[in-house]
């Protein structure tokens, strides 16, 4: 078999279910606005009635960082206190103070990581089932 190009592609159903659960645990809004520059996530979120893709950072309830380039872009930006920033690389959390959590890939599995102090700053209380993913410090 020949394999070329990018092998990795997200499975839409399980991805949507997980993000619905996560985002609804962090926001009480009936519909949330998400900004991301990742085309794969955009395509998947586009199918959702709960998530709305926005093209402007200012309009977003959630920002999802998926690349170092996007992280660098956000470093100089002043974000609203209500905007929740998430990333898919936990190392980004050390570089940008307003990232609340990561849904990162390590040892063959996606895992969550949330920083207690940053959740507190945003007055976010995650359901108890997320407790094991909340840490005091990075």
């Amino acid at each position: 078999m020949l394999l070329y190009g990018h092998l990795y592609a997200l499975e839409p159903d399980s991805t949507l279910k997980l993000y619905h659960h996560l985002l609804s645990s962090m926001s009480h809004k009936k519909r949330v606005k998400v900004y991301t520059e990742n085309n794969e996530y955009r395509k998947i979120f586009f199918k959702s009635n709960y998530i709305k893709i926005v093209l402007n950072i200012k309009d977003a309830d959630f920002i999802l960082i998926t690349t170092d380039t996007m992280l660098e872009k956000l470093k100089g930006k002043k974000l609203s206190q209500n905007t929740i920033v998430l990333t898919n690389d936990y190392r980004h959390m050390e570089q940008l103070d307003n990232i609340l959590g990561a849904f990162y890939y390590r040892k063959g599995r996606r895992q969550f990581l949330f920083l207690k102090s940053r959740l507190k700053e945003h007055n976010i209380t995650l359901p108890l089932e997320y407790n094991k993913y909340i840490v005091d410090e990075l």
Binding site: L2, Y4, G5, L7
Partner: protein, 622 residues
């Protein structure tokens, strides 16, 4: 009584713990299963699959192919009398037997060229660069194979988009065994790349042979794996330098004074998607081998003797080109293509004799294949494939024509699945053995294998269950029992994987095989089992796996227990303690010996390819 109650309460507590998986854990488990890279590479029509996902490899702390291969059913890890990976070895004097097993990295076959299947070279390779491994049993889809095989092993490398950044690991263990790896991968806007370099200094258990010089199989290996790829092109560069103490080597009574086999292997391949329908791939492989053998008695070669010191240097090259066309026409999924593989032996020099100019130094394998997958409906398909190969050899050695046919039916429902294949395949004697025996016998008919296989599977909420059974028969068998009769194989495999929750998993595998007229045996029964538990608790992860083997030769039970405990010191640093073959009861095989003064067979040496070893490893991600 008190203790009994306490144990019952503890067991109930553990079960409740597992049973009460939270909703987010259930979703996470589903996400991880459905987004494993393997889900993108598995071809349901490639054969009967035993899969090692990235999650499973990480939990097993599998560092080499051997760590994985020792747990597989049917064909499992063995080493031959030269200390080289050779799962089908008989323990006798053949160079290797595992040409029926083929190894692919990112869909491209890694061979050792003239010497045959790459399994002999790569069968215990460092797998730090690997994301997941697929073992396909019985005859593979013709789309994948250049030469016939019973078992095809597909290793897929990590994706830079998911595994970006670097990793360094240092491992030390029993007897001074040590290994170091460093890797780095990055996803750029238009392309991605990964480089993985490893070095292993394997100090292994010595084998007593009744002399002051026990048999050694230590090796030192430096291995480079790298790729660069874009949307429609991929380029791989692999280099392996392996200096090996070659156990008994060519010494017929297994008492060598010097036994070394060193290799330098280079593999380069390039693949391109030319259009929606056309793809092409080119591979170049080079192998330099350096063999040093000394014994107190002369080495025999054919009917002659080569003295008691033998230094051989050899070089060989392989070129492979493929062009594949795929199209969907109505309900037909058609794949067709041509492949050509040219193997050359460039030099073969024996010290004190000089370069051997044997006229047979070129083998060309040209193949043409056609495969159709016809969809009966959304869940069912029929498949039919045919491949014709023409093997031409120079130097007056006879040519071979191989015709392979494969018919199948697949049902893939949401929970239930079923597959059945009917096939006829042909195997030719490999070029190296023909080369070694030139003048003695250069016209051995290809082996014909006919068989039928069936697989039934069921996927539940938290488990996957599967049963595979197959029947095969060889005609003109290369492994048959002194031409007594056709070799027959009946094989059954049962798998049951259970996830207690996202962190706690169990896997069970049972295997039974019955062979008739194989090697020098009239009948052989083989049993094996593999049971593993992997548990993650906060920053700790634990793995315990036991492989059990028994066969009808002596009905002796062998147990290979592997245990490991891993501690994530922080997100970037992990410390792992691992024990291989903890009970020191792993499967052993015979290495046969001949008393050269009488010609009588000596008592064989019983050797396990799995060393008892404790290792400590530290990994740092950056």
């Amino acid at each position: 009584m008190f203790f009994k109650k306490r144990y019952i309460l503890i067991v109930i507590g553990i079960i409740q713990c597992f049973a009460n998986a939270s909703e987010v854990d259930t979703l996470l488990n589903e996400y991880n299963n459905k987004n494993a890279l393997s889900q993108k590479t598995i071809d349901k029509n490639k054969g009967h699959l035993v899969l090692y996902t990235r999650d499973k490899l990480e939990r097993m702390h599998a560092k080499t192919m051997k760590d994985v291969f020792k747990t597989t059913p049917v064909l499992y890890y063995h080493e031959n009398r030269y200390g080289r990976p050779d799962p089908l070895t008989s323990g006798a004097f053949e160079p290797y037997r595992s040409n029926f097993i083929r190894l692919y990295i990112d869909g491209v076959e890694a061979t050792q060229g003239w010497m045959g299947s790459g399994i002999v070279l790569y069968g215990d390779m460092n797998i730090d660069f690997v994301d997941h491994i697929e073992f396909y049993y019985n005859i593979p889809s013709f789309e994948t194979s250049s030469e016939p095989a019973y078992l095809t092993i597909f290793l897929y490398s990590k994706e830079a988009s998911r595994d970006s950044g670097g990793k360094v690991s240092i491992l030390g263990g029993s007897r001074g065994y040590n290994a170091q790896t460093i890797s780095y991968g990055e996803q750029k806007e238009d392309f991605s790349y990964m480089v993985n370099l490893s070095h292993t200094d394997a100090k292994r258990e010595k084998i007593a042979n009744g002399t002051n010089t026990p048999l050694s199989r230590d090796f030192e290996r430096t291995q480079l794996f790298s790729y660069i790829k874009s949307e429609n092109q991929i380029f791989h560069l692999q280099v392996m330098k392996k200096n090996t103490d070659s156990l008994a080597g060519l010494s017929l009574d297994a008492t060598p004074l010097v036994s070394e086999m060193d290799y330098l292997n280079l593999h380069i391949d390039y693949g391109i998607t030319l259009s929606e329908h056309w793809k092409s791939q080119f591979t170049y492989e080079y192998l330099d081998s350096d063999i040093k053998q000394e014994d107190d008695k002369p080495f025999l070669f054919g009917k002659g003797s080569l003295g008691n010191k033998l230094y051989i240097k050899g070089e060989n090259r392989t070129f492979t080109g493929e062009l594949t066309y795929k199209n969907k026409i109505g309900k037909h999924h058609i794949t067709t293509g041509i492949k050509d593989r040219i193997k050359t032996i460039d030099s073969y020099t024996v010290k004190n004799i000089g370069e051997l100019h044997i006229p047979f130094d070129n083998e060309n394998i040209f193949s043409l294949f056609f495969q159709d997958q016809y969809s009966l409906d959304d869940n069912q398909l029929l498949t039919a494939g045919v491949e014709y190969s023409y093997i031409s050899r120079n130097g007056g050695v006879s040519n071979d024509k191989l015709l392979q046919i494969r018919l199948g039916y697949l049902y893939l429902g949401e929970k239930w699945s079923y597959k059945t294949y009917l096939y006829r395949t042909m195997f030719a004697l490999n070029s190296f053995e023909i080369y070694q025996n030139i003048g003695l016998n250069n016209s051995i008919d290809p082996q014909i294998t006919k068989g039928i296989t069936q697989e039934i599977g069921y996927t539940g909420e938290s488990f996957v269950m599967r049963f595979i059974t197959s029947y095969m028969k060889d005609e003109n068998g290369l492994l048959e029992n002194n031409h007594k009769g056709n070799t027959k194989y009946i094989i059954s495999i049962f798998n049951y994987d259970y996830a207690f929750d996202v962190d706690n998993k169990m896997a069970l595998q049972l295997y039974y095989a019955r062979y008739e007229d194989i090697l020098n045996l009239d009948e052989l029964e083989d049993f094996s089992g593999y049971l593993s538990f992997s548990n993650i608790y906060n920053k700790w992860s634990f793995y315990n796996g036991v492989v059990w083997h028994q066969n009808s030769l002596n009905h002796k039970n062998y147990f290979d227990l592997t245990s490991s405990a891993s501690w994530d010191i922080n997100k970037d640093i992990t410390l792992t303690l691992k024990a291989d073959n903890l009970l020191n009861k792993a499967k052993e095989t015979n290495l046969f010996r001949v008393d050269l003064s009488t010609g009588a067979m000596l008592k064989p040496l019983s050797i396990s390819p799995i060393d008892q070893r404790i290792t400590v490893e530290i990994e740092y991600r950056f």
